[in-house]
Amino acid sequence: MTKAIFIFLASLLILIPILFHYGAIPITTQLIICAPFILFLGIPHGAIDNILYRKNHSVGNTVFITVYLIIIALNVALWYLAPVLAYCMFLTISAYHFGQSQFSHYLSKQAFISKMIYLFWGLTILSGLLFFNTNEILEINNEQPQFAEINTLFSEDFIGLLFLISIISTLGLLIFSKVTNVISLENLLMELLVLGLILTSFYLLPLLIGFTLYFIVLHSYKVISEEFRFLKSEGTVKSTLAFVYLVAPLTLLSFFGIAFLFALIYLNILAMSYGFCLLIVISSITLPHVFVMHQFYDLLFSKKFYQMEK
């Protein structure tokens, strides 16, 4: 069990009875509860992409940021031209990224079978989130005109089928990985337990709280901890404080960027709902981040980072 899994489990055991006792929580309240965690842990885990990428590639910071911004701009354009396609791409890429960070420490290379596990594991949890909260998501989407086109995707049958195919594929791939000795029996059992806990939390907890618990504890905390340990092993940072200084500039820039966009909406300069704007922003920063993280894990495997830590 990793510390992230332990924190997730402990949080779940405490939160489920308490939140159930309080009953239904409005989405705005959920957002207020979750926002600080997403802002202070979620955003920072992607705020040193430039440093991580340049560890293994001889690219200048200016070139890196320029390419990063071009990818973001292209993604924003795609959201305007084909929102359903952009949304599907965002979910698929996020699914792959979530799976990659979940399984990175078990593996020594990103073989084809590993990539399949990343994708299907991620699809399982994202389709599970949608499947167990379809009504809540539709309700939110119906309040925002820009989501109307995306709503066409939210047929319960389609999401249910996707969830079923994903979970069967994930279980099959995990068992295959055990049979071929890619992962141990203990790791297989732990991953089955974690998957069960994540899906239980999506089923039992309010939509945003359930997702934030997964996103912050099992994803962002794990990734940021790996980034810190790697940079420490490389001598780039020597303490937690130094790491905080490292992630601070782009984290703050992201805060200001989001605040600026929200201000434009508030002043009626940008005709868009806050939710839709946030979705585009998140998907736009996710796209290049996933690419950088893929390179980062390649670097960790080539340096035998996890084996060295044992």
Binding site: L9, I14, H21, L189, L193
Partner: protein, 253 residues
């Protein structure tokens, strides 16, 4: 006549069934551990004695609990918690004995016992003193009571879970030279993670409990889950210790 009065078990009563099988399984396990004690090295004899005591104490309580349940149809909550008050700290003693050779100090034992006492006392208050109406249905405040004491009890569980997976017990096992101890402690940690987690499911089935109010799971499920969990944890825990003792003794021979 007396036997007929006492031992009539309804055919569809899974709870009564698990009380009777639980009792026999605990007794059989105790006899097994006591007899096998002579086959292991001296350093493991105390561990096996404790394993035998855990299942024997449980067997005695199950003897009373099954009769109480069959006679009244009620949850034998007090007897249950008397049993746990004795056996759960003994499980903590098992962790201590296993890691003692790797340098575990008595402090560790006391910390684990304190956490288990917190877990049990809070669980007992949550379960035995839940406010009920005259007809046994949960009254106002039953859910708050159940949730509050359940959460306090969970803190004790989380501490033991942390100790077994990351804290002193895990570190001592990691530093131990014996692979058998390392594997054994890891398996016991799994018992704490999965086996002990069955108890809260039972707790949440009581009147006013979360599973009771949300999904309508009846209070008879409290004992069903507790009996299953007891069988897995007490006998399983003992068998893991037995396996460590016998493997270690064979290696030494």
């Amino acid at each position: 006549m007396i036997l007929n009065d006492i031992l009539t078990i309804p055919k569809d009563d899974a709870v009564a069934f698990t009380f009777f099988t639980g009792y026999m399984a605990m007794l059989a396990a105790s006899i097994f551990f006591f007899f096998e004690r002579s086959r292991v090295d001296d350093k493991w004899k105390l561990s096996l004695l404790v394993s035998g005591l855990i299942t024997f104490i449980a067997a005695v309580h199950y003897y009373y609990m099954r009769d109480y349940y069959v006679a009244t149809g009620d949850n034998p909550t007090v007897l249950r918690y008397i049993d746990w008050t004795l056996t759960v700290p003994l499980m903590c003693v098992e962790f201590y004995l296993l890691t003692k050779a790797a340098g575990a100090k008595v402090d560790l034992l006391w910390k684990l016992i304190l956490a288990s006492v917190l877990m049990l006392v809070a669980g007992y208050i949550g379960e035995a003193f839940v406010p009920l109406n005259a007809d046994g249905s949960p009254s106002d405040g039953a859910t708050s009571h159940s949730v509050m004491w359940g959460v306090i009890s969970t803190i004790g569980y989380i501490y033991i879970l942390y100790t077994a997976w990351f804290g002193e017990v895990a570190q001592l096992a990691k530093n131990s030279e014996s692979e058998v101890v390392k594997t054994g402690v890891r398996i016991l940690a799994w018992f704490v993670l999965v086996g002990w987690a069955i108890y809260p499911i039972g707790y949440m089935c009581m009147p006013g409990g979360w599973l009771n109010t949300a999904f309508g799971w009846g209070s008879q499920n409290v004992d069903l889950f507790y009996n299953i969990a007891d069988a897995i944890n007490k006998i399983g825990f003992g068998l893991v210790v037995y396996n460590i003792a016998i493997s270690s003794s064979k290696k030494a021979a």
